[in-house]
């Protein structure tokens, strides 16, 4: 038997499993005793099976020991450790409490507050002033919203407009003026509650074409926002 033939036949495995006929077995043994590679392979397999039998002959203690070690190894909790009941149930209970409080207390309170009439701090901003004005600063409480009465571009050449308010830190708030509102001379824009900084705020506007493209219409205005405690 040639070496390649032995490999293709998986003769070594078949030999170990007693699957070779007597003739083929004899041929393989003749090759085995003369081939260093196959002899090493066979010796390796023999050692593996010998040690494997000894290892497998040990009762399931080894496997149990592995499981115990894994249980004690809390430094590697595993990806789904949080799903275990001991952790998941208290976490879900806490979550339900939070949801309940928000639905029963927080949201109704906020909804009620929104429904009440409010007087908002307001100022008028003329987009044709191209810069600062001498108007007094707009004074708001921390987190309070305000109203800007924006005097619209006079020609109304675009079906819609976009208005951007840039704060001193560079944060931008944008609002789209719809087609119906854009024909008005003044746009009353409510800027909602937010933690804003005091300082100079700049308002710019761009036209929005029917195709949805933004077009700079020039102009702009600024005002001073003052935060009062």
């Amino acid at each position: 038997m040639e070496h390649n033939e032995a490999i293709q036949l998986m003769a070594a495995e078949k030999y170990l499993l007693d699957e070779l006929s007597a003739d083929v077995r004899d041929e393989f043994e003749e090759h085995l005793f003369g081939c260093h590679e196959c002899a090493l392979d066979m010796r390796t397999a023999s050692v593996f099976l010998e040690q494997g039998k000894a290892a497998l002959a040990e009762p399931e203690v080894a496997i149990v020991r592995d499981v115990t070690v894994r249980d004690k190894d809390k430094s590697r909790p595993g990806l789904f450790a949080w799903l275990r009941p001991a952790f998941a149930i208290p976490a879900m209970a806490a979550l339900l409490l939070v949801i309940g409080y928000q639905n029963l207390v927080t949201l109704p309170h906020l909804t009620q507050a929104l429904k009440k009439p409010q007087v908002l701090p307001a100022t008028t901003v003329n987009l044709l002033t191209y810069g600062g004005t001498n108007a007094p600063p707009l004074v708001v409480h921390p987190g309070e919203g305000f109203l800007l009465n924006v005097i619209a571009p006079p020609d109304h050449q675009y079906p819609a407009y976009g208005v951007d308010l840039s704060g001193p830190a560079g944060a931008k708030e944008s609002v789209a003026i719809s087609a119906s509102a854009s024909s008005e001379d003044t746009w009353p824009i409510r800027f909602p509650e937010a933690n804003r900084q005091g300082g100079k705020y700049k308002l710019t506007v761009h036209g929005i074409t029917a195709a949805g493209q933004n077009v700079d219409v020039g102009g702009g205005a600024s005002f001073q926002l003052e935060i009062q405690q």
Binding site: E13, E29, F33, M42, T44, A45, V47
Partner: protein
């Protein structure tokens, strides 16, 4: 077990009784002879007797002028001597015992386990254990029931829903996984010696 070329020098050293060469020779062929005999004889004492007899005859032949003529065919010679030992066993014919002088001259090193061997064995067992633990449960059961429990292979395959080809491939892969670890260990031991 490092690879040694079976050449004239090797035979000379073997004839001269060089301990390391003899040790290598016995280590190299012991397992192969045991495997061969294990497929034909059924009791450990019979296998061990036949193994000893094979080595005795080979080493006796080495000392004869017409003994091993082609060093590179030493392996084939050992195999044929083992075949003869088996034939004689089957015929239950009395063997010509080696002479007292020959017996005194031949000293087949017993591959006894040294402390290093015991430690190496334990380490080897750990590595094998690791390989086995990495196997799916079904594969581990296959190996256990066939090689440890010595159950009928067809029955085991049927119970576990696999065929003989699956079993062969499993054995091939397990052997391959172990081989690199085993060779590394052998190299380390050779360096230590």
């Amino acid at each position: 077990m490092q690879f040694h070329a079976f050449d004239s020098l090797y035979l000379e050293q073997l004839r001269a009784g060089d301990f390391r060469t003899q040790e290598h020779f016995v280590s190299y062929f012991s397992e192969l002879i045991r495997l061969k005999l294990g497929k034909r004889l059924h009791s450990r004492p019979e296998i061990e007797d036949a193994r000893q007899e094979t080595f005795t005859r080979v080493l006796s032949a080495l000392h004869r002028d017409d003994g091993v003529r082609q060093p590179e065919r030493l392996g084939a010679f050992v195999n044929s001597v083992c075949n003869n030992v088996l034939l004689e066993h089957y015929r239950s014919a009395s063997q010509e015992a080696p002479s007292a002088e020959e017996e005194a001259a031949i000293n087949i090193p017993d591959p006894a386990l040294s402390a290093i061997d015991i430690i190496a064995n334990r380490e080897m067992q750990r590595k094998v254990r690791h390989i086995l633990d990495e196997l799916p449960e079904k594969d581990r059961r296959l190996i256990k029931e066939i090689f440890l429990d010595e159950r009928d292979k067809d029955e085991v395959c049927r119970d576990l829903g696999v065929d003989r080809e699956y079993l062969r491939v499993l054995l091939h892969r397990a052997k391959k996984s172990f081989k690199s670890l085993y060779l590394k260990k052998m190299r380390e031991r050779a360096l230590q010696e």
